[in-house]
């Protein structure tokens, strides 16, 4: 399940969906979730607000492609990815990723893969309000590096 939305999300409800879903059989005993929140600092600057832009249509497609890649690689159930857009404040939840599998290793790895690939492939852009005004966040080489470890030999 993929959702790109302005509204906040409820982790307890998502956990229910992730584990009750018919696509995720009871034999799947491992559940790994990741939640990303808005920090109040970035690159040594205080951040007082954030705005997130996306490319409607392509964003959802690229998230679906990332999910398909994860499902081809690990024996996992149907993952959930929620990503918020619009105006956000420090402390707000931005992103949720939930993965189920029979055992923990596949669930941990697939969850990390999903967030690593989301960060370099899904069309979202962050703009931060700092003491010196609004500025677009620069893409970080560290994120490219994190994702590169999943390239299959």
């Amino acid at each position: 399940m993929i959702k790109v939305q302005q509204n906040d999300f409820d982790i307890a409800k998502l956990y229910q969906q992730l584990t009750d879903n018919q696509l995720n059989p009871n034999g799947y005993g491992a559940i790994v979730t990741f939640v990303g929140k808005v920090r109040d600092f970035n690159q040594q600057q205080h951040v007082s607000a954030m705005a997130l832009e996306h490319y409607p249509g392509m964003t959802e497609k690229s998230l679906q492609q990332i999910i398909e890649q994860a499902k081809a690689r690990w024996p996992i159930g149907e993952p959930i990815i929620i990503h918020r857009v619009g105006e956000l404040q420090p402390g707000d939840q931005i992103v949720y990723i939930g993965v189920t599998s029979a055992h923990r290793k596949a669930a941990f790895e697939a969850c990390e893969f999903l967030i690593d690939y989301l960060k370099i492939k899904a069309p979202f852009w962050k703009k931060e309000q700092t003491d010196t005004g609004y500025q677009w966040v620069d893409a970080r080489d560290l994120d490219q590096h994190a994702a590169s470890k999943w390239i299959e030999q």
């Binding site: 990303g36 997130l52 832009e53 996306h54 490319y55 249509g57 392509m58 497609k61 690229s62 990503h83 931005i94 992103v95 967030i115 989301l118 960060k119 370099i120 492939k121 899904a122 069309p123 979202f124 852009w125 962050k126 703009k127 677009w136 966040v137 620069d138 893409a139 994120d143």
Partner: protein, 83 residues
């Protein structure tokens, strides 16, 4: 007709979210289209420098030598920063 859309810094610098351009066979690939758009003015030149620019055709990221066809949706945007 080509529909061309822009996001984030790229959209702000040219101050437009989208433009339509008549498709001609001279527009053989994305690099040719980029050069045509750059000729529209200094802010277009600034926004469409290749070193920090990604491009998608029909909502799929692709390379600069990708060939274009009538009806394509082309998107220019900076490296992504979600998550």
């Amino acid at each position: 007709m080509l529909t061309i859309v822009f996001f984030a810094q790229t959209r702000e610098i040219i101050d437009q979210g989208s433009v339509n351009i008549e498709f001609t066979t001279q527009l053989k690939d994305l690099e040719t289209l980029r050069l045509l758009l750059i000729s529209k003015g200094d802010n277009w030149d600034l926004a469409l420098q290749r070193d920090k620019l990604l491009v998608a055709v029909n909502q799929q990221m692709t390379g600069w030598d990708t060939e274009l066809k009538d009806g394509d949706e082309v998107a220019f945007f900076p490296p992504v920063t979600g998550g």
